[in-house]
Amino acid sequence: MKSVDLSSISEFSENILLIKLNQESPYSNNSSFFLALSAFLREESHWIEVVAAEESIAVKYNDIKISTSKAKDLILSTIKGFNYKEESKTEILLHVPVYYSDEFGLDIEKITKTQSVTYEELINLHSNIKYEVKMIGFNPGFAYLGDLHEKLRIPRLSKPRINLLPGSVGIAENRTGIYPFGGPGGWSIIGRTPMKLFDNNNKNPFVINPGMRVKFDPINKKEFESFNY
């Protein structure tokens, strides 16, 4: 593959390498390329962690056992066997029910004002898109979904909140996402899902994974309260 060679691998720390594309990307969608490549690399047992971001991958290795040049060679030889076809992805569509409301949507009223939209318009603009998983990270199971409708694009909060409720649905810039466990977060919150995005009984406990699309389905308060799974 032409787009990754030795010159596109750099050192992040003593035992972490960064992989980038060394030229204009031949793909229309870099993030899904990096997610797919990172999953492919993760199948090899050499690596302690393989983490994809939107435009790079971090690969952590045991530098007591593997030298840096050996690690680079292993990455390049693995990538040789990687065959990425943008079109041929089969995607699972996950429906996530969301109760859009002032009750849980801490910023929904403010957004309707700054973006000059009604509540109904906001809900339609947010729930009419089948979002792609662009990246996973920041905190456990948090999937960056995109792209958000242009009319809803707002900056991150200047001061992040410390303790969001689990299932809070947020937006920032061209991304939307759900906080599976709550906790700290700097995105504007427009609603909450009653769905559990995490199941400790599964080998991979996370419900949203790379390669999926996510569609939000608006529900009312009664449906939110009686939701059961």
Partner: protein, 307 residues
Amino acid sequence: MSIEIISSGLQTTIQDLGRKGWRHMGVPESGGADKPSLKLANFLLNKALNSPVLECTLTGPSLKFFRSYSLVITGADMNPKINNKEIKMNKVIDVKPNDILSLDNCSKGCRAYIALSEDILAEDFLGSVSTYLPAKLGGINGLALTEGTLIETKSCESEVFSLTNKDFKLNNPFQNEWKLRVIEGPEYDFVKNASKEKIFSSIFSVSNDSNRMGNRLIGEGIELSNHDQMVSCPMSIGTIQCPKNGSPIILGCDSQTLGGYPRVLQIAAVDLHLIGQLRPNDNIFFEKISIDHAREEFKKQNSLSAF
């Protein structure tokens, strides 16, 4: 009932060596913030190094025992006492039912580790019982221990030995002024040249706003030539991020896996455990070393380690 928390201390959590291999799903390693001290506690009890221990922060807890145990306390010295009688750090100590262990404040370092001869029972999440407070994972209900919490233990297979009590020399690194060795981070060249010099000649102090996620530093502001918001990039424990305001943040063991601020420096692996012992108002100065030198130092440290 095995152990009762009489007083909680500032932040006492159950930790082991952390979760590996899940950063791609946004799960940080967690585990003890100062892993060598955690390992030493288990090592002195002849336990598996990954056994769960109690991590105490700045002010330690008081515990009441309902069974007999051997225990070891390592890390920052919080003046531990059994029934009000001083005991030594880094030594195997025997306790019996109704004994009370109390830890106080420390003046140097930030975290102490209490390891027990029995195994502490806690909730496993992705192969580790380490407590991760932001998402309430691991530990007991994912929380810091509070007054009245009961900790259950079960006997473990390994035979506790006290041989190591004899002459285990400990290199005590705890101080209030730290030299931290760093290597250049991926965005080191975002730092203006004048600022590059200042970083290595000035002293930073640790802000009160520091925790297991990160240590915020106060000092000479770092000026960046490139203020563009970066696309989110992979982060690591020990990455020194620099937001627009110029105040660097050292990412800790509970830090986020991805982030959008320039990664200007990286704490060398050989000094990585020290960031778990930084306390508010401690002074820090950075020494820049090459990545090859950093690797040599880490290998040297590794080969000298008894465990």
